[in-house]
Amino acid sequence: MTSFSLNGLKITAESSPDTPLLWVVRDELKLKGSKYGCGAGLCGACTMLIDGVATRTCILPLAAVEDKEVVTIEGLGTPANPHPLQKAWVEHNVPQCGYCQSGQIMSAAGLLQANPNPSEAEVTKAMEGNICRCGCYGRIKDAVLTAASSSTAQPIVVDPKEVVAP
């Protein structure tokens, strides 16, 4: 049994502690927004915030998040109440297949928490671990810079009522 906060809600997960957090969140806790792309920390599709830091969860054992705060794409914002990053994603018409975008946005959220006004080079560096096979990188970069310039660089506060309850 591992206890942690998921999108602001206290959770106790029953999966074996060596199970990667990604699969615990997807299979046991039924939040499907975070994706499996490589299983080796190479593509970033599984990215979540762990205590505010963008982290590849396909290689992160459940035990590592004991008592920590985990935020997934569902916790960042919802279709009815999107986060400024998500709004910027729509404004720049970023997604194509969309499969990588949850991870892209969570990496961007981690960047803006640490560095509210990143340069273009800093965005590129922070996002280098997230693969987009559709090749949306230019729009992703523009969307991150737009979100950064729209006074969004506050800590991410999750309202658990808005998130699909695990």
Binding site: K35, Y36, G37, A40, G41, P95, E128, G129, I131, C132
Partner: protein
């Protein structure tokens, strides 16, 4: 069709609401030949005028998109065409992926329900609009009747009928509409009056994809489902001799292990548990011929075929002897393009539940009708006994035309009796999939004193991805059904169907296009290695453009003529091609004047003309593409921002392959396994991209693929400008390393790469 016990749907069809042939260019539905798409969810109070729309009394517009969304934006594009004539904003539609049904046939593929070949907007430009116009006319007729106002005095806007200062939702008139005949051949909106076509607006799926709420195959759960991972032959098409599952069965969560036709399936309570147990299977495989191949012997084999085997002349014109006699400059150059995996970010998956005399399937494929047939054929069922739920895909790039994962899941579920969710790992995807064929090409070309092309002999050695394009392979196969041989191909069991095939037209497409010569001969030598082959975004053009546009550039330099001038001199009567080269050429010159090392390439594919200029720098052995200008003529751009996105995406996708991607062999096994060694473009590789769309009133042509082919030669030509080094082998990073111009030092182990990107 009998006259008793008709469902309402069938009644509507027979009473003319559907019209005889439904829609020009769509399907060839015979009366009662197939129940309407299972994707059309039963709705108690909705107008269902055809297979594409359900309109509810609450004015909800549910659009069943006939082509699968794999990221290319087809749902937005077709909703735009439909909405333009229906007078409903594209964003108002609730969009569903259409299940298999003849009404969703692709007119460009002989009515086969499949997405590919950059056909969707071209094929549906008129038919999809006609559906919308006819439905709008039906609503107007119903409104006229209900309101007692002549139809001529009614207008529409945004899904509302306006009359005498009042606005009424379309949904108000559905009861009356159900009993009216379906109008046909309603005049379409003149282009000058377009509200949506030609305007840029957000993708209909942008918000769901930005909030993690879009549902892909991997996200579907079914009551009682079990998870499976398949252990396949490490050398493609090896047969399983025997296996020992003892240790795997002891692993956590494992329920059972079953043998299927191409391997051993581990069935567990989760993907994680199945994936962990899979390596514990001890399996012995026989060794196909492919097991003897490695990279060195592969290249030697291709080189031998190029040098020693007479090619089949596929396309020939003019007198070569005469043409050579008028030649002042002559080159003979060889170009190599490797095997490539598609690597869509969502690895393949499918859920199949085999029941008594029926089956239910959830999968994202490029051809749901074909994939359903795969299941039916595997189980010896009729198509109608298989319920198929189509899902959008997390990328495809050609990969999901083959549905072997659906066949695998079917074989497993048949044995377990449970719903089986089969998930490929990334390693499965890179190592056990279908590949873009490798190609060795030689171009011998000549030009006269004035720089006019004289002779052009292009010879390609490699495998064939398919017997022919669908439209030539499948004439008139519907409504009788798709031939079993094609289903075997789609299920991944039937490369042998094409034994004896000398050349697939897609194998050499583009190799002799775009320029006029006095004489030309395109030759082909088929070399089959035993790796399964498949279309890969832009198909043959993905490698022929590299050879063609590199050779043209080389001949221009040998002739001491500016490469833009050289192309324009030889482009002939194709004024659209001329225009994109001219426009790109201006950028080429201005970027050159700014001191950049630039290269240009132009290539037409899928009826679309594209020219690209790349500016590169080469430092410390690393190729950096700084900027790309892309000029495209795809006829009328239905959604200009969608076209821009496809060009940007095509450039980045093509750039990753041009610079890094390589599927290589050792003892017949693919050496690469994940994104650390099968490298693709990352954000730092992506150049600034400017897309210029030629304004056009011509009917639209493809956009999904044509952005890919020019980027590799544009970059190679720019590297020549930067370094004086001609790189004639893809990927270019490897070619650069091998050319000793510079030396890269990257450690490609998974740990090192993961650490770099953590």
């Amino acid at each position: 069709m009998s006259g008793v016990n008709l469902s309402r749907r069938e009644f509507l069809r027979s009473s003319g609401v559907l019209g005889g042939g439904l829609v020009i260019g769509f399907g060839v539905t015979g009366c009662g030949s197939d129940p309407i798409s299972p994707a059309l969810e039963p709705l108690s109070n909705a107008l269902t005028p055809n297979a594409f729309l359900q309109l509810t009394a609450d004015n909800e517009f549910i659009f069943y998109c006939p082509r699968g969304e794999v990221g290319q934006g087809v749902t937005t594009a077709l909703a735009t065409l439909f909405g333009e004539e229906l007078d409903v904003p594209p964003s108002h539609f609730v969009i569903r992926e259409a299940g298999p049904h003849p009404d969703y046939g692709n007119p460009e593929f002989g009515g086969v329900q499949s997405v590919g070949g950059s056909t969707s907007v071209k094929a549906h430009y008129l038919p999809m609009r006609q559906v919308g116009a006819d439905v709008r006319a039906l609503i107007l007729a119903a409104a006229s009747k209900d309101l007692g106002i002549p139809a001529a005095e009614l207008d529409t806007s945004d899904g509302f009928v306006s009359a005498a200062g009042e606005a009424y939702p379309y949904g108000r008139f559905i009861e009356t509409a159900m009993n009216l005949p379906m109008p046909v051949d309603t005049p379409l909106t003149p282009s000058a009056d377009f509200k949506y076509i030609g305007k840029s607006f957000p993708r209909v799926d942008a918000l769901s994809k930005a909030t993690g709420t879009a549902v892909y195959g991997i996200d579907v759960e079914v009551e009682g489902m079990e998870h499976a991972v398949v252990v396949r032959s490490p050398v493609a098409r090896g047969s399983l001799l025997d296996f020992d599952e003892t240790e795997a069965l002891k692993a956590p969560g494992v329920r059972t292990v079953v043998r299927i036709s191409n391997g051993v399936a581990v069935v567990a309570d989760s993907f994680w548990h199945a994936k962990n147990a899979a390596p514990l299977i001890v399996a012995n495989w026989d060794s196909p011929e492919l097991a003897a191949l490695d990279d060195v012997s592969l290249r030697a084999k291709y080189q031998n075929a190029l040098d020693e085997v007479d090619g089949d002349s596929v396309h020939q014109y003019g007198e070569l002897d005469t043409a050579w006699s008028e030649t002042a400059q002559r080159i003979s150059r060889e170009y190599w393009a490797p095997y490539l995996a598609h690597a869509p970010l969502e690895p393949l998956n499918a859920i199949v539940h085999v029941k008594n005399n029926s089956a239910e399937v959830w999968a994202a494929t490029q051809g749901p009708q074909l994939a359903r047939r795969v299941v039916a054929r595997t189980l010896d069922l009729e198509d109608s006994q298989v319920t198929f739920h189509s899902l959008q895909a997390g990328g495809s790039f050609g990969r999901r035309l083959v549905s072997s994962q659906v066949k695998e899941a079917t074989e497993i579920s048949r044995q377990t009796g449970t719903p089986i969710k089969l998930q490929w790992s990334r390693e499965d995807d890179i190592r056990s999939g279908w590949f873009r064929p490798a190609s060795l090409m030689r171009i011998e070309a000549g030009a006269d004193e004035q720089g006019n092309l004289t002779a052009w002999i292009a010879k390609r050695v490699g495998g064939n991805a398919f017997a022919a394009r669908f439209e030539t392979a499948l004439p008139g196969v519907l409504p009788k059904g798709v031939p079993d041989s094609v289903i075997d191909f789609v299920s991944g069991t039937a490369e042998w169907v094409f034994d004896g095939l000398r050349v697939d037209d897609t194998s050499i497409e583009g190799l002799g296009d775009d320029y006029v010569k006095a004489a030309q001969d395109i030759q082909h030598v088929t070399v089959a290695d035993g790796l399964p082959l498949l279309f890969w975004r832009s198909v043959g053009h993905s490698y022929t453009a590299f050879a063609k546009e590199s050779a043209i550039d080389e001949l221009a330099h040998e002739s001491a003529i500016d490469p833009v001038e050289f192309r324009l001199k030889n482009v002939g009567e194709d004024h659209r091609m001329r225009r994109v080269i001219e426009e790109a050429g201006e950028h080429y010159r201005s970027m050159q004047q700014d001191g950049a090392s630039v290269g240009l390439a132009a290539h037409s594919s899928f009826h679309t003309r594209v020219a690209q200029v790349a500016a590169v720098s080469v430092e410390d052995g690393r190729i950096r593409v700084n900027r790309v200008v892309c000029v495209v003529d795809c006829g009328r751009a239905v959604n200009p921002d969608g076209v821009r996105a496809q060009m940007e995406g095509g450039i980045v996708f093509g750039l990753g392959a041009a610079l890094y991607s390589n599927a290589t062999l050792a003892n017949g096994e693919i050496k690469e396994s994940n994104f650390h060694d099968f490298q693709v473009a990352r954000m730092g590789d992506a150049p600034d991209i400017e897309v210029i769309i030629i304004d056009s009133d011509e009917p639209p042509t493809g956009a999904g693929e044509p952005g890919v082919p020019p980027i590799a030669p544009a970059v190679a030509n720019a590297i020549f400008a930067a370094t004086g080094d001609r790189l004639r082998s893809l990927p270019l990073s490897t070619a650069l390393r091998n050319s000793n111009v510079a030396r890269a030092s990257t450690d490609p182990s998974p740990g090192a790469v993961a650490e770099r990107f953590a």
